[in-house]
Symmetry: C2
Subunit: 432 residues, 2 copies
């Protein structure tokens, strides 16, 4: 930090409580200072105060690490409420795929911006995203000041599988807000050649690999019929997990799958709202946790959720485990809060966005405690997980920049303009 | 209405869309005028405009009937996040009951006010509440301007069962915002004498009867062991349903139970968040709907939910049915929206709070469409149910009075005072 030295980029958060997520979830009365993109001080009020660009009185509110949305397809906002209440096969084949075929890069740009607005209104500071038209997708994030890790999405229908390597090199060098992780769409959309290619890249770059994994029972059954192995066993046998990584959904996991995830230190990203809405099932989160598997939480895309709301996801993660395990003690609030913050950061390879500490990225959210759902204050972590909602997000900062404050968005473009462009793009899409 | 006549109590809502909930869920470009507690006009702009106290430009937002919270224990806000992640028996016996024993009327008053703040922040305009210290409870509602139906809660531990009749007469005559419905706590907390007494009152006053019903599997099993009948069969055999009514939770319903509910026109009030969190189960909502059973939605008390958030409940109602029925087409958005609004009104006997129409009570909510989770606009009902959240509540009116607007509360007392009093009362409770 710039001790005592004047700086135009320093923010001071005072008169509130800090949940650092470094270890437990206690809220401690401390100050947080940022300098540019980073946190430069966490501790009590000091005598040697530098010059701050802005001093923010928290009025007793809580500052904590931002939520990490560890699996999504942001640009799918255009399909929100477009085809609800349909069986999965009809939903995909009659509604989603025909519309996606018509998407232009400009469409992806504007629909991604719409998703980013919702992320920051929910205290989400980064996303782990799988989609296409990646230049447009990256531009939307950079233009808004939002942070994202793009996940490769190889399928057997891709014209040029070497794009994955090109993208890996290009997007990891593009901008501080953008990263790229190796990945493929899923077992059922790839042949062994494709999977072997990704494994080869993983070895070449010592890079972790992600994909959709065991989202539905039929996906697992069909993989076993084809390969006599579950998706997890197949991926492991090919060497896809030699440098870490993990899977999205992980709804149907055998004991052996769970053991592979635990042994290899892989990340299981759960997507409870999507799994319910598409009637996929309930992931064995408590079993995964018991086995020591690393866990993070994602919203999945807005076509299958339909919200991008980490509070709803956190509630579902714990409430569904209590139901599925028939045990009201399952999956406690502290565990869920960790999954939604530091867990997501590690899963996405953002190890400097995990906790509030000096030198870490200033990806933070201020929780408004003056809303009735946060009162009384027995247990802040419990309040956040069991009764928290978007209304509690007072401020969202990404890399030290305030993107959202008191209901207002600071993403470089007027939100009404973004809505108008999104609705216009959608109208054209429907006419094409 | 006061056609052309000046009035100091008229509000005009214009430049938006109205979902009347009269039949479907379409949003129509119309105006809504209120006069005092009632809606006095719904239709296009007119030439003969009266003098309005205030004209509210909706800026394209949606006005619709308020949500009805058809089962709750409002004052239990004091137990929010007090004892999460505990098995049901320990939660009740070690945490809930000992604390409830110490509650004073003043405690119930302030903790109820805290719940009302959360209701109106979620667009809820009335509650169907079961608790004790009823004078204090009623006063909190009246003082805030909130509407409630108190449900009788007879148990075999009550000193004087005739209180139920006294309360029925007293609270139905007390204030326009207060009603009282006959009820008892549950089968397992009553003996047959008590149930027969309630049935007698039901006949005497031609009054409907409500209770907790089949919330858990063990409750049903134990009732069958005691009476060789399910709770629903027992209640029906005693004549408790001769004048309508229904049950809260209805998680474990046999085919015969469902048939009794359908034949008698009873209301099943589902409480999905509470049922998950306490590991009770998933109610057979789609089966109940298929059988033609009337349905409404409740949050249950904040000790077992822990939020009082109708958006979360609506999402859970449909998402859990899609999961449980293994059918993504189950329980569509229109059906859920009806349950949460007009369904709740009928269940609570508030037949003049069901829809937006001339002469109906002005219990309404304005939905902010300028939030990213409401865009794009394919289907407003879908957006409300699948991605709606408290952030979308721009305004809540009860009986024509604006209690909540743009995040601010108008309940006759400063919210920070309410929080302070609630936390002080809680501290004293913990010390007693």
């Amino acid at each position: 930090m710039t001790n005592g030295v004047e700086s135009n980029n320093m923010l001071r958060f005072y008169n509130g409580k800090v949940i650092t997520m470094n270890g437990g979830t206690e809220a401690v009365e401390n100050e947080v200072w940022t300098d540019g993109a980073k946190i430069c001080y966490v501790g009590p009020k000091r005598d040697d105060m530098p010059h701050f660009k802005r001093e923010i009185d928290l009025h007793g509110d809580v500052i904590m690490p931002g939520f990490k949305n560890a699996h999504t397809h942001s640009a799918m906002t255009f399909l929100r409420s477009f085809a609800d209440d349909l069986p999965l096969a009809r939903w995909l084949n009659e509604k989603v795929f025909p519309m996606e075929d018509k998407l232009t890069p400009d469409d992806v740009y504007i629909f991604t911006k719409l998703a980013i607005l919702e992320y920051i209104s929910s205290g989400i500071t980064s996303s782990f995203d799988m989609y296409f038209h990646l230049d447009a997708y990256a531009a939307a994030n950079i233009d808004c000041g939002f942070k994202t890790v793009i996940c490769g999405a190889l399928t057997r229908y891709d014209k040029r599988r070497e794009d994955i390597e090109d993208h890996y090199l290009k997007y990891n060098a593009l901008h501080p807000l953008i990263k790229y992780a190796l990945g493929f769409h899923a077992e059922y959309t790839n042949d062994l050649d494709g999977l072997n290619y990704i494994a080869e890249l993983s070895r070449k770059y010592s890079a972790s690999v992600y994909s959709h994994n065991s989202e539905t029972k039929s996906e697992v059954d069909e993989c076993i019929a084809r390969h006599n192995m579950t998706p997890t066993e197949l991926f492991d046998s090919i060497g896809l997990f030699e440098h870490g990584g993990g899977g999205f959904h992980c709804t149907y996991m055998s004991d052996n799958d769970i053991s592979i995830f635990a042994r290899k230190g892989l990340w299981a990203v759960t997507n409870p709202a999507s799994n319910l809405k598409l009637a996929s099932g309930i992931a064995p989160v408590q079993k995964l946790l018991n086995a020591g598997v690393n866990m993070a939480i994602g919203t999945d895309g807005p076509a299958s959720n339909n919200a991008l709301d980490m509070f709803r996801e956190m509630y579902l993660v714990t409430a569904l485990q209590k139901y599925a395990e028939n045990d009201a003690a399952a999956c406690d609030a502290d565990t869920v809060l960790k999954m939604a913050t530091s867990g997501g950061a590690y899963a996405m390879g953002l190890s400097d966005c995990d906790i509030i500490a000096e030198g870490k990225q200033a990806d933070m959210v201020v929780i408004n405690m003056s809303r009735p759902n946060m009162q009384p204050v027995h247990d802040i972590a419990g309040n956040l997980v069991y009764s928290g909602s978007k209304e509690n997000v007072r401020m969202t900062l990404v890399a030290g920049r305030i993107l959202y404050e008191n209901g207002n968005f600071y993403v470089g473009e007027d939100i009404e303009k973004i809505y108008e462009k999104a609705n216009t793009a959608l109208k054209k899409l429907l006419e094409r």
